[in-house]
């Protein structure tokens, strides 16, 4: 069922965890709330679960206003971050808990079915502490799913697992979601997890939704510096608008002229305005300065000097210092490696102008980078 948050906010004392928020989570979607810790994503999830009362606004499930409904009356279940399995009950009773509380008389069939779905049949009589992390996680999912909730809420459910198990559980959760077809709302700080699993991602920062969209849309066309830096890596170049045309704007960064499609500029374009021109590292090609003539016409180009090159097998990551900006990152696929591209080499960075995005220069240029995102 569709969840609608309308002007929902949460204030703890003098700290605003979530600023008034409008969010629609479509029925049957896998929706991710992505952000660093303290960005308000878990609080938002808890308000949907009923574990936190919103300071203002309302939460709607379908057409029904559930803002005032206590958690045990909401057709919504949660997979908790630490799983919160009942330590005094075995796996079977943990899974049956919700059904029994709803007064279901014969739980055996459904519990067995759930045990099969999460492949824990032989573990039914074990206590949670006798299970591995991955098994506990599956019990937590089964315990929530058995109730056939309208919405399943997942609060960083994979945070405690190691990388390999995480990847496996990501696929597993995605499979379960496709099988049961209910709405999943997934809270995570792992951008890769959000992008691989979700149909829709809301990137949160400082208690606000920075940008909402499909993973590819967020990645290819970020609207804020936080999204640009938090999802993957971006090169943000400080530039000045020289000429604002109807479909392309002409920018100037140091001595380089850059073109920016106007529909990818997320700020006003007026001649003389400052702007941040962004481009993803893998969109950039490197050509030795001596071979500049071979670069096709119409590409954005910026000169620079390679300061670092790390060979990663499938690709090579370069760091290039340029008058247009320090430490620009370039990822080159290792198809035909030019062995002359070594630190110290003078190069030209060039890319298709359609891959450029324009951001408001009033924002912090490093929002969402390492230190900020931790």
């Amino acid at each position: 069922m569709t969840i609608t948050l309308s002007q929902v906010s949460k204030v703890f004392g003098d700290f605003t965890a979530v600023h008034p928020l409008d969010l629609t989570i479509p029925e049957g979607s896998f929706f991710a709330l992505l952000g660093a810790s303290g960005c308000g994503k878990t609080t938002t999830l808890r308000m949907i679960a009923g574990l936190e009362d919103p300071s203002s606004g309302s939460v709607l499930l379908g057409d029904q206003d559930i803002t005032a409904l206590p958690p045990h009356k909401r057709p919504v279940n949660t997979v908790f971050q630490s799983y919160a399995l009942f330590p005094h009950l075995d796996v079977y009773e943990n899974i049956a808990f919700g059904l029994r509380r709803q007064g279901v008389k014969s739980v055996a069939g459904k519990v067995d079915e759930m045990l099969d779905l999460v492949e824990l049949g032989p573990m039914a009589r074990r206590k949670p502490r006798q299970l591995s992390g991955g098994q506990q996680q599956r019990v937590a999912v089964a315990r929530a799913l058995i109730n056939r909730p309208q919405v399943l809420l997942l609060d960083e459910p994979l945070g405690a697992l190691d990388l390999k198990l995480r990847r496996q559980m990501q696929l597993e959760l995605k499979r379960i979601q496709t099988d049961v077809g209910i709405t999943f709302v997934h809270v995570t700080h792992d951008q890769e997890e959000a992008m691989t699993m979700a149909d829709q991602v809301a990137v949160m920062y400082g208690g606000r939704v920075e940008q909402l969209g499909a993973p590819a849309e967020l990645y290819e066309n970020p609207r804020t510096t936080f999204v640009a830096n938090f999802l993957g890596t971006s090169n943000l170049i400080e530039a000045e608008v020289v000429d604002a045309g109807s479909d392309h704007a002409l920018l100037k960064a140091a001595d380089s002229k850059l073109r920016l499609p106007t529909e990818r500029a997320h700020t006003t374009l007026r001649a003389g305005d400052r702007i941040l021109a962004g481009v993803r590292p893998e969109k950039i090609s490197l050509t030795l300065a001596a071979d500049e003539g071979t670069i096709p016409e119409g590409r954005n180009r910026v000169p620079g000097t390679i300061t670092d090159a790390s060979f990663l097998g499938v690709s090579t990551q370069y760091v290039v210092n340029s008058p247009a900006g320090p430490e620009l990152a370039v990822y080159e696929q290792n198809v035909e490696r030019d062995s002359r591209l070594i630190p110290g080499a003078d190069v030209v960075l060039h890319w298709n102008p359609a891959h450029t995005f324009g951001l408001d220069s009033a924002q912090a240029i490093d929002a969402g980078t390492g230190e900020d995102a931790a």
Partner: protein, 313 residues
């Protein structure tokens, strides 16, 4: 570093100096637990095991103060003590049981509140729970004597509410008095042993992950069901510890019956004290101590079996 040293064969050149040292760090950990046990072991041997043997031998002696006592394996003393002081034993266990139940009823909500709702007041409230220990047990019990006195506030309050009629109908009070009645002794026991109930309850409640409450609510359990199905079962270790820490000393207590009761409320502790210090009938006193100990052991064993704590977390 060190596991590598002990498991991997040392390189040939380093073999000679490396061989001797590993022996020492391996031996020390094996002895350490015994050294740690030693002080308590000596203490218990001198002040618990030895007196226990001494009392056991006393309980089967016959004789008199003037002629001296001899071990004659006179087990009849046990039977006689049980016959003479049966009511004292019964009364002790009854008062202790009622006081334990009251402690649980009063202590559980208190411990629950401190563990889950007290916020930053938690530390202060815990200090207040143990604050009575800053004064002596005896003085506090004497204070209760004046609180419960015939002209004191409790009696007049109960009287004006006509509650004394109820308690007297229940056999807890008599003659419009509270002092020198079972009620006074039970109140005294409850008061004095309450912290021994609250502290273990608190520590077991405090260990419960608040997320478990949330998970329970999320899984359609209303607050009362959450308490019944999650909170209470998880606090059972505290309930068991608290009831044992209250019931065992309360059933052997004699101060409360002595100061707040009358001869009608004498507990087995009073009888033992009288035999030891006034009548000077040491065999009977020793036999009664052993009967008390044995009965408590049986009750505790049955109780632990029933509570099945080893199944809990």
């Amino acid at each position: 570093m060190s596991p590598a040293l002990t498991t991997a064969p040392p390189p040939p050149g380093a073999a000679a100096p490396a061989e001797a040292p590993p022996a020492a760090p391996e031996r020390r950990p094996r002895l350490t637990p015994y050294w740690l046990l030693l002080p308590a072991g000596i203490w218990l041997a001198v002040f618990f095991v030895a007196p226990l043997f001494y009392q056991a031998s006393t309980s089967v002696q016959t004789g008199s103060l003037e002629e001296g006592y001899q071990v004659t394996w006179h087990f009849a003393t046990y039977w006689e003590a049980l016959q003479d002081y049966g009511p004292h034993f019964l009364r002790s266990f009854l008062y202790a049981a009622v006081a334990t139940a009251l402690c649980l009823l009063i202590g559980y909500p208190l411990a629950y509140m401190i563990a889950f709702r007290a916020g930053r007041w938690r530390g202060l409230l815990l200090v207040m729970v143990i604050a009575p220990f800053f004064t002596s047990f005896l003085i506090r019990t004497l204070a209760w004597k004046s609180i419960l006195s015939d002209s004191g506030p409790v009696v007049s309050a109960l009287n004006s509410l006509h509650l004394l009629d109820v308690t007297s109908w229940l056999g807890l009070t008599a003659d419009d008095r509270v002092l020198a009645t079972p009620l006074a002794v039970i109140c005294g026991l409850t008061y004095n042993f309450l912290p021994f109930m609250v502290l273990p309850l608190y520590s077991s409640l405090e260990r419960i992950d608040p997320a478990l409450h949330e998970a329970s609510r999320d899984l359609y359990a209303k607050p009362s069901t959450t308490f019944r199905r999650v909170t209470f079962p998880l606090s059972l270790p505290g309930v068991v510890a608290g009831t044992l820490l209250t019931f065992i000393p309360a059933s052997g207590d004699y101060i409360n019956a002595q100061l707040l009761g009358s001869p009608r409320e004498q507990m087995v502790g009073n009888a033992i004290q009288k035999q030891f210090l006034n009548v000077l009938d040491y065999p009977t006193a020793a036999a009664m101590s052993f009967i008390l100990m044995a009965l408590i052991l049986v009750m505790v064993t049955l109780y632990m079996r029933r509570a099945g704590t080893e199944d809990l977390v």
